[in-house]
């Protein structure tokens, strides 16, 4: 299934009016002359885990900041939990949970005290506080460290505690900005396990940004964003189906001539990706024998694999997402800096 960037087909939008928790239409955010978000439309259904995938600077953190009412949109509309971001930012903030990319815990308090502060700040009734805190700690496996100071926690533990905090007041949507950035793969898997458990038990809607492809695979649906616009939107399988059947990666003694021979004799376009060539074909295993026959130079190696989201991104934007990792602070952090930066 092929998805057009600006207006995704109906199947992919999870039915706008049915039970959409987030709807965005024509969203634009400009910082001075820089257009960070250039007209985004999307809709997220209740109970969905929705991933916003793109390189740093693509506009994903700006979008999430607008949805969390930390930034005002320049144009377009957005609503969260049935409330408009321009008209009722306080109402939205009371109904969402937020996990920032950088920690925002009080490290001089214990885990339990951090959660107590949050419960009180979000108006969790006194009679329910204790039980909800205990439950949230259990959900993220931190019960045995509940009374330890957060300053003694590892990065992964802090992140889990922040997720516990984010769901403590029973929000309708949990927003996570790069939730597993800087975590090792095991910790990342654990964070995801907790997120999926929470979703399964509470029906929470999760909206997250990431630039990790593996992470995006875990989402129910993904929007791929690049240069401020959505270039594809759908389930991971739908997006991968866009690439075609299989990916054949090969390297030869003379890659440049190989590209010509493949195009001339087999009628397919091979892309140069570093030291190797990438070819998209419907049936990889049937294609390899033809390929070997067609090439005049020695073939060093050939791999056939299913397409990944990396391939989708590469196909849509002409470059790999990995090349653009690690730029430092996100737009969400900039948003905070700007808000406080005087007028």
């Amino acid at each position: 299934m092929v998805l057009s960037p600006a207006r995704p087909p109906q199947e992919a939008t999870a039915g706008d009016s049915v039970d959409a928790v987030i709807t965005v239409s024509g969203l634009v955010k400009r910082y001075g002359t820089v257009e960070a978000v250039r007209g985004i439309d999307l809709s997220v259904a209740r109970g969905e885990i929705f991933g916003f995938l793109g390189p740093n600077g693509a506009g994903k953190s700006t979008t999430i900041s607008v949805l969390c009412t930390l930034l005002k949109p320049t144009a377009g509309t957005a609503s969260v939990a049935g409330l408009d971001v321009n008209r009722d930012p306080d109402g939205i903030r009371a109904r969402i949970g937020l996990v920032f990319q950088d920690p925002s815990l009080d490290v001089q308090l214990s885990a339990r005290e951090n959660l107590l502060f949050h419960a009180m700040a979000y108006g969790v009734p006194r009679s329910q506080r204790k039980q909800r805190i205990a439950q949230a700690l259990t959900t993220v496996d931190l019960t045995d460290r509940a009374d330890a100071l957060v300053s003694t926690f590892s990065g992964g533990m802090k992140r889990r505690l922040e997720i516990a905090r984010g769901i403590l007041h029973h929000p309708e949507v949990l927003f996570l900005d790069e939730p597993t950035q800087g975590l090792d793969p095991q910790t990342r898997a654990k964070v995801w396990e907790h997120l999926r458990e929470i979703r399964a038990s509470t029906g929470l809607t999760v909206f997250m940004t990431t630039h990790y492809m593996e992470e995006a695979e875990w989402c129910d649906r993904i929007a791929i964003i690049d240069h401020g616009t959505i270039v594809a939107l759908g389930t991971p399988d739908e997006l991968k189906a866009q690439v075609g059947g299989d990916i054949v990666v090969l390297s030869t003694a003379d890659n440049a001539s190989a590209v010509e021979e493949i195009a001339g004799r087999l009628g397919v376009q091979a892309l140069v990706d570093g030291e190797s060539l990438r070819i998209e074909v419907a049936d990889g295993s049937a294609f390899v024998p033809q390929l070997i026959m067609a090439l005049s130079m020695p073939v060093r190696n050939v791999t056939v694999r299913r397409p990944s989201l990396d391939d989708v991104f590469l196909k849509l934007t002409g470059r790999a997402i990995r090349e653009e990792e690690g730029e430092g602070r996100t737009a969400m952090m900039r948003a905070f800096a700007m808000r406080r930066g005087g007028r």
Binding site: C68, R93, R95, L105, D106, A121, H169, R340, G342
Partner: protein, 300 residues
């Protein structure tokens, strides 16, 4: 809708205002309490800071106070009409209480800058609580710590030879709290705007120390050069130390005329009464708190 029958009232309300489990806006008093409570929990935990912040006033009292007492002598040298037994140390002691309050108040307010560096300020600012509650809670939290610090200093009174009475202690505690509140509100108003710790260091050196020296904590605010007289009268701390000194010295048996002479701020020939000192501090706090609330409320 118009109500035809009394029974319609309330019965039709429910569907219009859908109540959700989430989305509760916390009442102002509760929000202030949360912010205050967190500061107090941290304060209680941080014993080292409590001891460290006592060290400075004690040093002033023990070394500076004792040293100067020995060299300037007693009674008359501090002003005419003072009993011969009255020492500089007794004069200085209420000033050191004010100093303990001043330093702790400004340091406590610095926690706003600290919270910003460590990210917790985001947690506070995205919560559905009003920014005014944040400013007020922070000010009350810092003021509580600063006033406590001043109150703890009262244990040194017997050693200094200052006689405390129940009345003078009961008068001193709220006065210390008021001074603490005024100074913390100033600190919060400043730190709401400050981005870095370095900025705060500048504030400390160019604001806090002059405020301390000009407050009359260490010398009577009489017979000073003209320019200095003017500056001292603009120092809010002076109006905090004067009533504390009045209360403590009156309680220790100094005649009222002598108390007025050595403790009160004067403007021209007018001896500023305690009620006016309190008025100055209340007004100052109100202005600073309003500025602090404004700074927190600003958003893009």
């Amino acid at each position: 809708m118009t109500v035809d029958a009394p029974r319609a009232v309330g019965a039709v309300e429910a569907p219009a205002a859908v109540t959700r489990p989430s989305g509760v806006r916390v009442p102002l008093a509760q929000a202030v309490y949360i912010i205050w409570y967190r500061d107090i929990v941290r304060f209680r935990r941080d014993r080292v800071r409590l001891v460290m912040s006592l060290a400075q006033p004690v040093l002033y009292l023990v070394i500076f106070g004792v040293g100067l007492s020995s060299s300037i002598g007693r009674g008359g040298s501090l002003g005419a009409g003072l009993p011969a037994s009255f020492s500089y140390l007794q004069f200085m002691y209420p000033g050191v209480l004010g100093m303990a309050v001043l330093f702790t108040a400004i340091f406590s307010a610095m926690s706003v800058v600290w919270d910003r560096e460590f990210g917790f300020l985001r947690e506070i600012l995205v919560a559905p609580i009003s920014r005014s509650a944040v400013a007020l809670g922070k000010t009350l939290g810092g003021a509580t710590q600063a006033a406590l610090q001043g109150v703890v200093m009262l244990v040194f009174a017997p050693i200094i030879g200052v006689h405390l009475t129940v009345v003078s202690v009961l008068e001193t505690i709220p006065l210390l709290f008021l001074l603490a509140f005024a100074l913390t509100s100033l600190g919060v108003a400043l730190s709401a705007r400050l981005k870095t710790m370095q900025g705060f260091q500048v504030v400390m050196n160019f604001l806090m120390m002059p405020m301390f020296f000009l407050s009359g904590a260490l010398f009577p605010l009489r017979n000073l050069p003209g320019w200095m007289t003017v500056l001292t009268r603009f120092d809010p701390v002076a109006y905090g130390i004067a009533p504390v000194r009045s209360a403590i010295l009156a309680g220790s048996g100094l005649p009222q005329a002598a108390v007025d002479r050595v403790a009160s701020v004067t403007i021209g020939n007018w001896v500023v009464p305690v009620a006016a000192d309190i008025g100055v501090l209340v007004l100052f706090s109100a202005v600073m708190l309003a500025i602090a609330m404004r700074s927190f409320r600003h958003r893009d």
